[in-house]
């Protein structure tokens, strides 16, 4: 796309960048200061999705980005519009999701005067964006907008915000779109250091009990095929982080599932017994490691990540390797010889038998059992979006992810209310997939107004809402750490969720007994409407396994 130096407004120049970047969809909410951008957006074929609150625009863009592999785009106005974005931006930042956010700002001459709907959004978002800009000169706008997309989507992805004062958006701009992005301060390392690669191959060759720990970086660099080839060639079992679910198919015999505070028992035990741990695109978050001094006590640790700052940040690393996971694994594969690791895989089999994932059987509806049925009925092929709480862990443990980019959740920040808008974004990105939202009554009420957005957009979302009329993950914490003094966790004013769905024009269904589970799930799967299933469960349910504070991963609490 060559545009020469023809004069057009800054707002129009932004649209040229969006079109050049292949943007099809923008999530946003208008307001006074951003209207110049909206006015030009309306003249493009780009579709605008009007959300119900700005935070949800970022969540939706995040769900869209995570399932499509493209960069999500948001638009909001100055002041409250911009500050409402903050939780969404922080969520995207923690999970390294590429999102570009445009905010309107008061006119340049008023910046700094505490004008109506003025806020210093670039100042506010410095710690939660990969980079941000306040555009003061319209001639810089084409370059900045192009840079923003480049920065958001390359290296370790993340959110980038551009704050555009109203007069800058309206000013005439001569500058054309630059051909290339030139940033002397930003040069991500993609290729792994050859010496370190050989050292890693040597470590893998020497290890008797190797274990791969795969995270979101595998998905971000689209390395899932190379990961599978490596695991199979060397017969190395694989655990994943919450963010890494789907990076390695859980129906593969080498898959051990999620590791960590609520990780699968055999995954956690394997991590404590391995003699080589290869972290791929992970950041050794505290929800994974448990007590750091007890983490992987027998293992040498190799850490592969595109962000050098992650290496050595939390755990001691014996072999650091900076680069893109895809590039590294591609180069590593020919350097390693096939192996069988028979005794280790035998031990893994024992661990699976010794420490199965269990939840006991009760008469009432068990959410774990429901998630297992959903996994079977969708054959692990749906996209699962979740909110944050107990249901998130059940969705992580019991569904069985077989495809990359099929799990969408606020993993790092743990943002309640993420689920519904993210599911909507996923559904807009992947029309070919059924999208399920797994949520709880607490999280759902933080963003349930987005039902309106989903209906407007004609999205046939399937919402499975576990209703225990309480904040049961908080209850679980109070149970274990606050002497069972349950405070501020009970909801006595919940709406009738089935009727809530119906009053939006969606289908509402309810599960109160176990025999209703399969038929109701089947009914929801079989229709093409937005369907909300309220599944009534006990507030006394717990998420197990659970590693208590200060304990090692092999000191899990398990159900009685």
């Amino acid at each position: 796309m060559t545009l020469g130096s023809k004069e057009r407004t800054g707002a129009r120049a932004v649209m040229e960048v969006l079109l050049a970047e292949g943007v099809e969809l923008v999530f946003g909410y208008p307001g006074g200061a951003v209207l110049p951008l909206y006015d030009e957006l309306a003249r493009t074929p780009i579709r605008h999705v009007l959300v119900r609150q700005e935070q949800n625009a970022v969540h939706a863009a995040s769900g869209y980005a995570r399932t499509s592999g493209k960069t999500g785009v948001c638009l909001a106005t100055s002041g409250p519009g911009a500050t409402n974005l903050v939780t969404g931006i922080a969520s995207a930042y923690m999970d390294s999701v590429p999102v570009v956010i445009f905010t309107g700002q008061v006119p340049t001459r008023m910046v700094g005067s505490d004008a109506f709907q003025e806020t210093d959004i670039t100042g506010i978002t410095i710690p939660i964006t990969k980079h941000n800009y306040l555009v003061k000169d319209v001639e810089e706008l084409p370059r900045i907008a192009k840079e923003a997309f480049y920065i958001a989507s390359t290296g370790r992805p993340g959110p980038v915000l551009i704050d555009i004062p109203k007069d800058v958006a309206l000013a005439l701009c001569r500058a054309s779109l630059p051909e290339r992005v030139e940033l002397r301060g930003y040069k991500p390392t993609y290729q792994g250091h050859p010496g370190q690669l050989r050292a890693l191959a040597r470590l893998l060759g020497e290890a008797e009990r190797p274990l791969i720990f795969a995270g979101g970086g595998v998905l971000a660099s689209r390395a899932e095929d190379y990961l599978r080839q490596l695991a199979e060639k060397l017969q190395v079992p694989v655990v994943t982080s919450l963010t890494g679910l789907g990076a390695f198919p859980e129906d593969n015999p080498l898959a051990l599932g999620m590791v960590g505070l609520h990780g699968k028992p055999c995954a956690n035990h394997a991590l404590m017994e391995c003699d080589l741990l290869v972290g791929l695109g992970v950041r050794f978050d505290d929800r994974v490691t448990g007590a750091l001094e007890k983490f992987a006590p027998r293992a040498r640790i190799a850490h592969l990540d595109i962000d050098p700052a992650e290496i050595g940040k939390n755990v001691r690393v014996d072999l650091p390797l900076v680069g893109d996971i895809s590039c590294i694994l591609q180069e590593l594969l020919p350097l390693v010889a096939p192996a069988s690791h028979g005794p280790w895989l035998q031990r893994i089999k024992e661990l699976r038998n010794l420490y199965p994932l269990t939840y006991g059987r009760g008469g009432e509806v068990r959410p774990q059992w429901v998630m297992e049925r959903l996994g079977e009925m969708t054959r692990g092929q749906a996209i699962i979006a979740t909110d944050v709480g107990q249901h998130q862990m059940w969705a992580a443990l019991y569904y069985g992810y077989t495809e990359p980019r099929s799990f969408v959740s606020s993993c790092g920040l743990g943002t309640m209310g993420y689920g519904l808008p993210a599911a909507a974004g996923a559904a807009l990105a992947r029309r070919d997939k059924q999208v399920w939202l797994i949520t709880g009554d607490g999280s759902f009420q933080m963003s349930m107004a987005e039902l309106g957005t989903a209906m407007e957009q004609g999205l046939p979302l399937k919402i499975l809402l576990f209703n225990n009329q309480s904040l049961a993950m908080v209850r679980q914490l109070q149970h274990f750490y606050y002497d069972r003094q349950y405070t501020a966790i009970e909801f006595t004013g919940n709406p009738d969720f089935v009727r809530l769905a119906e009053c939006y024009g969606a289908e509402g269904l309810r599960i109160t007994r176990q025999e209703e589970v399969v038929p109701v799930l089947a009914r929801a799967m079989g229709n093409d409407r937005l369907t909300l299933i309220e599944c009534v469960i006990s507030p006394e349910e717990m998420v197990y396994p659970m590693v208590p504070e200060g304990a090692g991963l092999d000191e899990m609490l398990l159900p009685e």
């Binding site: 991500p188 050098p308 700052a309 290496i311 900076v322």
Partner: protein
Amino acid sequence: MKRTLSVLVENRPGVLTRVAGLFSRRGYNIDSLAVGRTENPSISRMTIVVDGDEQIIEQVGKQLNKLIDVIKISDITDDPYVGRELILIKVNAEPAVRGEIMQIVDIFRARIVDIARNSLIIEATGDADKIDAIENSLRPFGIREVVRTGKIAMLRGAKTRGMEASGNDTGE
């Protein structure tokens, strides 16, 4: 352990906020920070003295490198370099003690840059030890006010830490 980092950054508004914010957010201790334009008007140099163990210093460098506006970071602590601070000291100086103060100023090769009826302003440059020493020597006279810059530093010899030795330190 104190380390001296020489950091090249884009000469743009907001860069200092990004750098200072990073330090406070991640709990790193800045001893001093001095910033100014370089021979290239589009680039500024920050000289940052930071206190921390090896792991913290490594993290400081890596996190700074993640800022898009940070072009290059060099830890020059172990290289031969000239390090300077500037201090302005307003000291009580009754006519009776002025001679004594002027002797101290001479010894430290400092300068008197302002004289009032009962006080002097003294300007001195040097490394941190010398600056501390002159301040201590003048304390008995009664120091009214001190203004002190952070350290700025430059490698000795023909070697530079400019753009020509470029490339981010992104190795392992």
